[in-house]
């Protein structure tokens, strides 16, 4: 069983996230890390391989610092990593990112499973997995909170508001997992040491045969025209409960015409 996991390097949500002058997300001047939601995909892949056999390759499309995301995944236990990095990729939208990822997956060699997170914690679009499935011609078993792979079939449960759906597809398939699926492991000391010797390949667009004109800010099919920081919310009245906190809350609701 060969599994490719797509992982993204994102600005840390605990820090101050901001934009560059060209309206793209600032990834260079802020602390970044492996998107937390992709840890669940790495964990899911490791579990499958540990229960049987095979290899887990992690792949990222991103700037130089994105190597950190790969490192973390290797420390968790992935076998090897591919870093697609090219000046021309800067400013790519989801459509272009999915193109580059699709070509990288093909070059890695047709895996049985392509695994992704639920959504990136910076873009939060949850669209790259479906785009990848479309481009690779794979069935999509997406947003699942359970995952079972056996006898060439993948099964998973997709929880909606009104219904839970049981999904089924034959391999190869693309699967995205939610943060309900498992508890991602922390890298062990052994894992951290072992990661240093694991192979990391760096590929350019030329290595993938992708024309630089198809990606990047100028080729994006959407354009961010402007951004504005939301004015911080003004803190309102804070009362300490001295036996009348609930009454005061109700008075506030009445004054605001909620009652």
């Amino acid at each position: 069983m060969n599994i490719v996991v797509c992982v993204k390097y994102v600005p840390d949500a605990q820090g101050d996230r901001t934009f560059n002058e060209d309206n793209t997300t600032d990834r260079a001047n802020v602390d970044g890390l492996l998107s937390e939601l992709d840890e669940y995909a790495v964990e899911a892949a490791l579990k499958i391989v540990e229960a049987g056999e095979g290899e887990v390759t992690v792949v990222t499309v991103g700037p130089e610092q994105a190597a950190d995301a790969l490192k973390k995944a290797l420390q968790m236990g992935a076998d090897k990593a591919v870093h697609v990095s090219d000046e021309a990729i800067h400013g790519s939208d989801a459509v272009a990112t999915s193109l580059v990822l699709a070509e990288a997956v093909k070059k890695i060699g047709s895996p049985d499973l392509v695994l992704t997170g639920l959504s990136s914690t910076d873009g939060t679009m949850s669209v790259v997995p479906a785009m990848l499935a479309e481009r690779l011609g794979l069935p999509q078993v997406t947003q699942v909170s359970t995952l079972e792979v056996a006898d060439g079939t993948v099964k998973g449960r997709r929880d909606g508001d009104a219904v839970s759906e049981s999904l089924e597809a034959s391999l190869p398939a693309l699967v995205s997992v939610t943060d309900q699926i498992n508890e991602p492991r922390y890298p062990s000391f052994k894992g951290i040491m072992a990661a240093k010797k694991k192979p990391v390949e760096t590929w350019s667009l030329a290595d993938l045969g992708v024309d630089a004109g198809q990606v990047g800010l100028d080729a994006a099919w959407t354009k961010v025209e402007s951004f504005a920081q939301r004015p911080p919310r003004e803190q309102g009245e804070i009362v300490t409960d001295e036996g009348d906190g609930g009454t005061k809350l109700a008075e506030f609701l009445a004054a605001q015409k909620f009652v």
């Binding site: 949500a13 996230r17 309206n23 939208d93 989801a94 459509v95 999915s98 914690t121 939060t124 679009m125 949850s126 669209v127 479906a130 785009m131 479309e134 011609g137 069935p139 999509q140 078993v141 997406t142 099964k155 997709r158 929880d159 909606g160 508001d161 009104a162 219904v163 839970s164 759906e165 999904l167 034959s170 939610t178 943060d179 309900q180 994006a220 099919w221 959407t222 354009k223 961010v224 025209e225 951004f227 504005a228 939301r230 911080p232 919310r233 803190q235 009245e237 804070i238 300490t240 409960d241 906190g245 609930g246 009454t247 809350l249 109700a250 506030f252 609701l253 009445a254 605001q256 909620f258």
Partner: protein, 318 residues
């Protein structure tokens, strides 16, 4: 004027409020046409007509319901080819976002998700999104193809404008490739009888501070006719269903009033509620970050504050 397609959100012909909102937006961009997937279009037509749908494209094909996402994308592709619309609007659900993603690739069109405003602009359709846990707003346009835009609920008040809602059946042959992921079973979830989280005008949420006892949260919610939400800590502990989780990996809500009880206000929770109009918090810890956001806060125990507030509200009503 060019057509603007609106994917209808419905349950067996019962049209949801988001559809009326999207039709209202579509009228400001062009001539609205609804796209109805399913067999019961006659049940839906009056409401689609009421909110201005000139045409209703109908795709009645079981494959679209029996396989995940890919057939819906093919169905939408077929309608886009037939109508050459100025834009495609879809309610921002996970399912629709994924179908929109595939449609974007098929039609070589730009995709914008989770818009909170959509307007006609000089450079075509212009959208507003709320990003980075609600700390920034971004204005964006689509520069290639047909703008495909998923729109959040509650971003405009629906306004009626009668139109013909002429039914146009569309025959879609779903490809074998699109039938790769089968929906092998469906399990209905139990209904709470409360308003839907993303549509509710008031949401009352509980967190780890409830210690697993949501009854004061639920009672207060019911007094206000509110939906009940939960933090991830409460969901992970098994105290409340995941479908009620508010935040980055749960629901993003933007109600008139959000009440957080026993919730600290982590960035991932804020991402789901920061754009609420009015925010109230009850927390024992005066240092809890949730208080930075509030219009009104009570430093206190939710187990005494909420029941007292419930009683006071009931008294004020009677």
């Amino acid at each position: 004027m060019a057509e603007v397609l609106v994917l209808v959100d419905h349950a067996d012909g019962q049209v949801k409020k988001t559809t009326a909102e999207l039709l209202t937006i579509a009228r400001s961009l062009g001539t609205p046409s609804a796209v109805f997937i399913g067999g019961n279009v006659e049940a839906a037509r009056p409401r689609l007509a009421q909110f201005g749908a000139e045409k209703v494209y109908v795709i009645d094909n079981d494959d679209v319901e029996n396989y995940l996402v890919a057939p819906l994308a093919e169905a939408l592709h077929a309608v886009v080819q037939q109508a050459s619309p100025a834009a495609v609007l879809l309610p921002s659900t996970t399912h629709n976002k994924e179908a929109a993603a595939r449609l974007a690739i098929k039609t070589e069109s730009g995709l914008i998700t989770d818009a909170v405003a959509v307007e006609a602009g000089d450079a075509g359709v212009s959208t507003t999104q709320s990003v980075f846990a609600g700390s920034y707003t971004v204005k964006a346009t689509v520069t290639k193809g047909t703008p495909i835009i998923t729109v959040k609920p509650n971003v405009v008040p629906p306004s009626a404008s009668q139109a013909g809602a002429t039914v146009v059946p569309v025959d879609v042959q779903v490809s074998d490739a699109a039938k790769g992921a089968k929906i092998a079973g469906r399990e209905e979830k139990q209904k709470s009888g409360r308003p839907e989280l993303t549509e509710a005008a008031i949401v009352v949420s509980g967190g780890r501070g409830t210690g697993g006892d949501f009854s004061p949260v639920e009672t207060f919610a019911d007094t206000l006719g509110a939906a009940v939400g939960a933090s991830r800590a409460a969901v992970d502990a098994g105290w409340y269903p995941h479908s009620n989780q508010v935040g980055q990996t749960g629901k993003q809500v933007s109600p008139q009033l959000y009440v957080a009880a026993g919730i600290s206000g982590a960035i991932q929770h804020r991402a789901g509620m920061q754009t609420s109009k009015t925010i109230i918090a009850i927390n024992k810890d005066e240092e809890a970050p949730i208080f930075e956001l509030v219009d009104f806060g009570v430093v206190g125990d939710l187990f005494t504050v909420l029941p007292q507030a419930t009683e006071a509200v009931q008294k004020a009503r009677s």
